[in-house]
């Protein structure tokens, strides 16, 4: 087994609202192998974006790392000095934002913004930066003469390609992509996802892909990390996890999305809403919405247990997963949560 590129151990992130701490991410642990795409999936507000952003250590003003480590290439990101962290940013860990429209500065041309990173962060000279920028545009499939255009002159899909070019600029080891295709139509989505896969295959870059869309995970990811209400509830190889989920939340999630791969199956939403993280329920946080919840689910917090090899899930009824899966397929199961 190769050394993981990134190992999260018990990472917690808290927000301060008023005089109260809200734990947005609690005890998250998972690995990212070199040259793999890991899907970080969950409903909005489950902490996946906060978790992904924490790897750049650029958090909202009221957020802080509350504990745990993130070992990247042998160093704990969370313990690095701000100066050392800044050395890591973009050179080793780059970021593709959800909306490239808002993430590109409207008053500079995209060429200028590429050059800014290449010169100021990559130490390239002006002409070398120009050559590299053209190379990057060719790589993502945009004509090089558009380097002189402003962000608003590009279409949504094109802007996302610009964002990818920007992320690639300094040959990072890890790219964090935060909902990179959410705002795009399906055909463009597929093109962008193909491009992410190419990153991995041709350049050996690892990607953490944050998404709420399980079909995106199915299309492009090697591994999947499912989050619910700030906790990792299931993690494993993509195919195994999606075909044979061990956590009821993942089972429900799968029912709620049209399958991009098979384009079949009935849509069944999960009843209810995620809990308020300011006062989460005791025990398993999914219990209030879980059709299979038992008494202990409401009192004891389940830990991540091995389901099958490196496929882990945090469920008290992990041993009965196969039976639950069979019941979860029926939409009546989800209509009246226990």
């Amino acid at each position: 087994m190769t050394q993981p590129l990134l190992t999260l151990k018990d990472l917690s992130i808290a927000y301060r609202v008023g005089d109260q701490d809200t734990i947005a991410v609690e005890g998250a642990s998972f690995d990212v192998q070199p040259g793999s795409i890991v899907g970080l999936v969950g409903e909005s507000g489950c902490g996946k974006t906060t978790l992904a952003r924490s790897l750049t250590r650029v958090l909202a003003g009221n957020a802080r790392i509350a504990g745990g480590e993130a070992i990247f290439d042998g160093r704990d990101i969370m313990a690095l000095s701000e100066r050392a962290m800044n050395g890591l940013r973009w050179r080793e860990i780059a970021f593709i934002p959800q909306s490239a429209m808002n993430s590109l500065d409207p008053v500079y041309t995209v060429g200028t913004q590429l050059a800014e990173v290449l010169i100021r962060r990559g130490g390239l000279g002006r002409s070398a930066a120009r050559t590299r920028a053209e190379e990057l545009f060719e790589w993502v499939g945009i004509e090089t003469n558009r380097l002189g255009d402003y962000p608003h002159q590009f279409s949504g899909g094109m802007r996302q390609r610009v964002a990818i070019a920007l992320a690639l600029a300094l040959d990072p080891k890890l790219i964090i992509a935060d909902e990179p295709v959410t705002a795009l139509d399906v055909i463009v989505q597929r093109q962008i996802l193909d491009q992410l896969r190419e990153l991995k295959e041709r350049l050996g870059i690892s990607v953490i892909l944050v998404t709420h869309d399980i079909s995106v995970v199915a299309y492009v990811c090697d591994r999947v990390v499912v989050m619910y209400a700030g906790r990792v509830v299931e993690t494993g190889p993509m195919a195994a996890t999606l075909t044979a989920p061990a956590h009821p939340y993942t089972m429900g999630l799968r029912n709620a999305f049209p399958d991009l791969a098979s384009a079949a199956g009935e849509l069944t939403p999960i009843e209810g809403a995620p809990p308020d993280l300011a006062s989460p329920p005791p025990g398993c946080r999914f219990a209030p919405r879980c059709p299979f919840a038992e008494a202990r689910c409401r009192t004891d917090v389940p830990g991540l247990d091995i389901y099958d090899g490196d496929h882990l899930a945090a469920c008290h009824r992990i041993a009965e997963a196969e039976t639950l899966r069979a019941r979860a397929v029926a939409s009546e199961t989800w209509e009246a949560p226990a």
Partner: protein
């Protein structure tokens, strides 16, 4: 192509506003009570002499004819003749315009440089004690009557300490060969200090508050967060990205501020006996020198209207989202 149409439409609108203001001005001055020549006519004049004078100024014509004549004269740069100076209004007004513009621009440049920097700083310090004290303080400077501030500065620094002259542009009896010699003399700058300070203190609030609130909005934008994620230096994040974007509307407001300032100059020029358009307007109105009043008003209005146009064009020129459509 599209940009040209927009600019064309804006120019047309400017021309329309200018014509409308000229028209309002004309009728305002003609419809006022009393003979427009009251100040001009010596009581000893015979009715024949009065009639002759009326004819000389075209006042015997019907109103609409007078209006057309007025417009025609305007097109030739003829603003009439001042009753008081017995000299063409255009000449007088153009001679005073530079004095007013110097005062306006130098005070606004100081106000904007200070306001932009302080506004960015206060945005950076949001929530701090400094900010909570400074913002109401700045609002208070916006609430000051400009002339009162001028009076205060005069009382303290001129009459009290004797550091600065009490008014005018030059020491009594001083003569200069040319305007250039006057403007480049140390005395001129000496005389200018207090009025410029007055106007600058009053004006800095606008760019300051605008910059501060824009900056606070921009700091929340995704591209500023992205700049931090890129590992760019604090300088790059704050100046190259945040301030550059926050500055756009502030730059535009400069032109608008010139338009406002030039109206407000009226009182400050009076306090400091500064020979500018504003003080001339007040004097002309007080002495019923209507052609001169009309001319000075028109000149001020032209600056206001042009600056409104400049503001729009500047906005378009500075924001690539408008320029490169």
């Amino acid at each position: 192509m599209k940009a040209i149409t927009v600019i064309g439409a804006r120019l047309l609108q400017t021309a329309f506003v200018l014509l409308a203001v000229i028209t309002i001005l004309f009728f305002m001055f003609r419809l006022m009570p009393g003979s427009p020549l009251a100040a001009y006519i010596d009581p000893n004049f015979t009715p024949e002499q009065q009639a002759e004078l009326m004819a000389r100024f075209g006042l015997d014509q019907p109103l609409w004819r007078q209006y057309l004549i007025y417009l025609g004269n305007l097109l030739q740069g003829d603003l009439g003749e001042s009753f008081f100076y017995r000299q063409p209004v255009a000449e007088r007004v153009l001679a005073l315009l530079p004095n007013t513009l110097i005062l306006t621009f130098s005070s606004l440049i100081i106000a904007y440089v200070f306001g932009v920097l302080a506004g960015a700083y206060l945005a950076w310090k949001r929530g701090s004690v400094v900010e909570q004290i400074c913002v109401p303080l700045v609002l208070t400077t916006r609430a000051m009557p400009e002339f009162w501030l001028g009076m205060l500065l005069l009382a303290v620094f001129s009459f009290g300490m004797g550091w600065f002259p009490a008014g005018g542009t030059r020491p009594p009896g001083a003569e200069y060969d040319s305007l250039w010699a006057l403007y480049s003399s140390a005395d001129f700058w000496w005389h200018m200090t207090l009025p410029v300070m007055t106007l600058a203190i009053y004006s800095q609030g606008l760019p300051l508050l605008l910059m501060r609130s824009n900056m606070m909005d921009v700091m929340r934008e995704d591209f500023v967060t992205m700049a931090r994620i890129k590992g760019l230096s604090t300088f790059s994040v704050v100046i190259r990205h945040a301030a550059r974007n926050a500055l756009l509307p502030v730059m535009t407001s400069f032109a608008i501020a010139v338009g406002y300032q030039i109206q407000g100059n009226v009182v400050v020029e009076t306090v400091f006996s500064w020979p500018g358009l504003g003080r001339e307007l007040v004097r002309a109105v007080s002495t019923a020198d209507y052609p001169l009043a009309q001319g000075a008003f028109l000149m001020i209005a032209v600056v206001v209207i042009l600056m409104n146009l400049v503001a729009d064009l500047l906005y378009a020129a500075l924001d690539p989202r408008v320029t490169h459509e």
